[in-house]
Symmetry: C2
Subunit: 197 residues, 2 copies
């Protein structure tokens, strides 16, 4: 990857290390070593270690939000008011963001708890708003009879957990390409929700 800035290079290396060993177990000097500079030199580009984590988590969150927004819009254009179409689009978009940058997404999924109190609760609120997209379509699908009666909150949590698990086992050089995995997860998700009529 071509680095546009030193700051970006730091965040890329940090994403890799944070995902691999976790934020707390990664030191500023670990990041610096991977860039062949002294630890103290990083402070010319970042103000704190948490600052780097925040940049990664915030960018990942924005990517997920933007992709979901676009996916919902396109689903609505294709099949207005169709909850299955909307959920399928959301799942596919989520998988695409996740497989598009495993490091960044993995840090977002697993390491946001290491943020300070205000940022942590800000992330929690954004995650809840994101999950609410799924809850809304599940709720609508139940009302329409497209989806089986179920608890929308549990179904949405289970569904998102299922696809977020990908962050732990997806391997870009693995058996299946990202597109095929997305197909499978869309199928599994819809089957989990759909009524059998």
């Amino acid at each position: 990857m071509v680095e546009v800035s030193r700051r970006q290079a730091i965040e890329d290396v940090a994403s890799d290390l944070f995902r691999e060993r976790g934020y707390a177990a990664t030191s500023i000097r670990d990041i610096a070593r991977a860039l062949s500079v002294q630890g103290a030199s990083l402070y010319a580009h970042v103000t704190s270690k948490e600052d780097v984590l925040w940049a990664i988590v915030d960018r990942a969150a924005s990517r997920f939000e933007a992709a979901a927004e676009r996916a919902e819009g396109e689903a609505e254009r294709r099949r207005p008011g169709d909850p299955a179409e909307a959920v399928a689009a959301l799942v596919r978009a989520h998988v695409e963001v996740l497989t598009g940058d495993v490091d960044e997404s993995g840090v977002f999924v697993r390491e946001w708890r290491s943020l300070g109190p205000e940022r942590r609760s800000a992330v929690l609120a954004r995650r809840d708003a994101y999950e609410a997209r799924f809850r809304r379509h599940i709720h609508a699908g139940i009302a329409l009879g497209t989806f089986e009666m179920t608890d929308p909150a549990i179904a949405a949590s289970a569904l998102l957990s299922a696809i977020n698990g990908l962050a732990s086992w997806y391997d870009p050089k693995g058996r299946l390409p990202a597109g095929r995995i997305a197909d499978h997860l869309v199928d599994l998700s819809l089957r989990m929700l759909s009524s059998e009529s």
Copy 2:
């Protein structure tokens, strides 16, 4: 909870803290403070910090394995060769272990990566063997036509991720009791797999 031993008290407090802040972000002195003793005093009962993590992870793994073994046995006794019955029993057993001790299970699900290389790969192997139980029943169900055609490895990963997500959001004092949550997750799991015939 009545503590049977000082060692057990240490592990209980450590489970709580490891789950809350993560292993790397929790110091031996944090654990000691929660027990109102000096940090160095803990070393009369444990040989290292990783030793404590290992005890927690190993015990949790054993609980999941034992529960799964029993669940498969009972399912086979009730409905021999019925993959749906087996998966339902496995999911229910898993949820019961998880909700039975959120701290221990949460550490097992999230913090096993902090173990040293040998222990980490031992845990990975046990997790794979555990997941293989699900894969086997899914494979059998597809062969029988009970389950929809799908990739058993992806389906098993997705299913386990979905229920493991519980470790992140289950609240013993929450809206729904553990039993009701288990019912929902069993339903969602079977629906995810079952063919619509």
